[in-house]
């Protein structure tokens, strides 16, 4: 690796000791900012007796109260409309409005100042530069530019790098693919679901071989776990003949994690974010690799609505592997492994929906779509997996079924009812976050 491999070689290769000093200094600054400029934060910290001067060493950060999304929803019902008193700037300094997708409940509104928006683009610049994006490359954005953050900041991050940005806004999927072909775009960004849906449309509606007729070299995926699920990643790479890189971010946090060219886990941008991983039961800090815990995250430079010790509910684990890229930023392994509120007990067994996706997408005779329904029959939980068969089967349905049952048992330790559906009949999730896991147990009682 050389200097040209990094967006900022100073920060990205800063020795750990100095990186931690920098994080502490920045935490002290954002904490003071929130304490002095938001009524909500001032009261929250006063209630537990913590003032800015109390955070003297790294361990003191652990005493700062966490904030959950559910709390943000309550706060945003207060003045000033529509953000509530977490807001740290006068409302007339807010230049950007976005909101969360609402996947886990009522959407949360996110104000950003112009500086915050510049910061969003900066955080994406780190991501894209690490993934090989450079000035002069033509990059396509096939998403609906609307109230959801989606790839808005990635658009401006790519601009910041000097890429030529092509907004694919309201075009439909076919028009987007044809525009990408016409312009010979080198890269694009989308959710894993939409990357696969585009490939499906190209093949089945346009009769287009993406590997031969387009020149896409890299795809950045975000918004769903698929980029870190090997079988899903392979499907995307096979369909497009391109490298797929994962990225993780969130509206209320920022673009905090990304794969680099070496792809040995996802780096946490520790110059801009502080990630703590906590044991879900004891709440104790996990520092060793390979132990899953809940991520608590601080955006160290975001000012309009600070994200300080945000309890993300995302399950992550530190990676045991050292990345050869030379970055001193630590990595997480496997991306977001699930959400603490998604990991559900079925028949007494903890089930993470991502494990089912890994199995389904690993069987070539099945389409990209699937649906999981958990119901209750009397006192017993029941799981049904709905899958679609592709038209040109390599094996018999019985063989596919047997393979599914065996693999699912191996990965999830559970038995499933398998339903085969005709290709194209299960719900599609173009441009919205997929909701393939449906727990109907409470609805039936």
């Amino acid at each position: 690796m050389n200097i040209n491999s990094y967006w900022n070689p100073i920060l990205e290769t800063l020795p750990r000791e100095n990186l931690e000093k920098l994080q502490l200094k920045k935490f002290q600054r954002i904490f003071r900012w929130a304490y002095e400029n938001s009524k909500y934060h001032h009261k929250l910290y006063n209630n537990v007796g913590i003032e800015p001067g109390d955070i003297k060493k790294f361990e003191d950060i652990r005493d700062v109260p966490k904030i959950e999304k559910s709390v943000m929803r309550v706060v945003q019902k207060k003045d000033p409309f529509p953000y509530g008193d977490m807001l740290c700037v006068p409302p007339d300094q807010v230049t950007e409005f976005h909101q969360t997708s609402g996947t886990t409940g009522q959407a949360v509104y996110q104000p950003d100042t112009w500086q915050d928006w510049e910061w969003w683009a900066e955080s994406w610049a780190y991501v894209l530069y690490a993934q090989g994006y450079r000035a002069g490359q033509r990059v396509f954005f096939p998403f609906g530019y609307n109230v959801f953050i989606a790839f808005w900041a990635a658009h401006y991050g790519a601009e910041k790098l000097g890429c030529e940005v092509v907004p694919g806004g309201v075009l439909d999927t076919e028009a987007r693919i044809l525009k990408m072909k016409e312009l010979g775009v080198e890269a694009f960004m989308a959710t894993p679901t939409y990357v696969l849906a585009m490939a499906d449309t190209a093949k089945n509606k346009l009769g287009l071989n993406l590997r031969k007729k387009l020149h896409v070299k890299r795809i950045t995926v975000a918004g769903e776990p698929g980029g870190s699920i090997p079988a899903t990643k392979k499907r995307m790479e096979d369909a497009w003949g391109a490298k797929v890189y994962d990225q993780i971010g969130a509206t209320e946090i920022g673009a905090w994690s990304y794969e680099c060219l070496y792809q040995s886990g996802l780096h946490v941008n520790e110059a801009l974010f502080l990630v703590e991983i906590e044991d879900p039961t004891t709440g104790k800090l996990i520092t060793e690799p390979g132990r899953k815990g809940v991520m608590v995250i601080t955006a160290l430079d975001r000012i309009a609505q600070p994200c300080i010790r945000f309890d993300s509910k995302d399950l992550v684990q530190w990676s045991p592997d050292k990345c050869d890229c030379g970055r001193t930023f630590r990595s997480i392994k496997g991306g977001v492994l699930g959400r603490i509120d998604d990991i559900t007990k079925v028949k007494g067994v903890l089930l993470a929906p991502t494990a089912i996706e890994e199995v389904v997408r690993g069987i070539p005779d099945l389409s990209d779509e699937y649906e999981v329904l958990v119901t209750k029959k009397g006192e017993t939980d029941d799981i049904t997996l709905r899958v679609e068969l592709i038209h040109s089967l390599n094996g018999s349905i019985e063989q596919i079924k047997a393979k599914l049952i065996q693999e699912l048992r191996l990965k999830t330790n559970l038995g499933y009812n398998i339903e085969f559906h005709e290709y194209g009949t299960l719900p599609r999730y173009n441009n919205v976050k997929a909701r393939r896991f449906k727990d109907l147990r409470h609805q039936e009682q």
Binding site: N2, I10, K21, Q115, E118
Partner: protein, 67 residues
């Protein structure tokens, strides 16, 4: 052998501070001309990104050798 670059981040930080001061001075001179004020807001946002990338580190370490 390729020479390893050495970044003199304290001098870079000084230059960033100068840009910031100049931008604020410009705003103070604007007489509320919005075409000046709003563009200064944008300049200062970019300056903040330079501070995040360079000046913040300057307080931790004065000279950084590329690893």
């Amino acid at each position: 052998m390729t020479k390893e670059p050495i970044y003199n981040i304290d001098i870079m930080a000084e230059k960033i501070e100068t840009i910031k001061k100049t931008a604020i001075e410009l705003k103070n001179l604007s007489g509320d001309i919005q075409a000046v004020d709003r563009n200064v807001v944008r300049i200062l946002a970019s300056v903040k990104m330079l501070e995040i990338n360079i000046s913040d580190v300057a307080t931790i370490k004065k000279r950084v050798k590329f690893n």
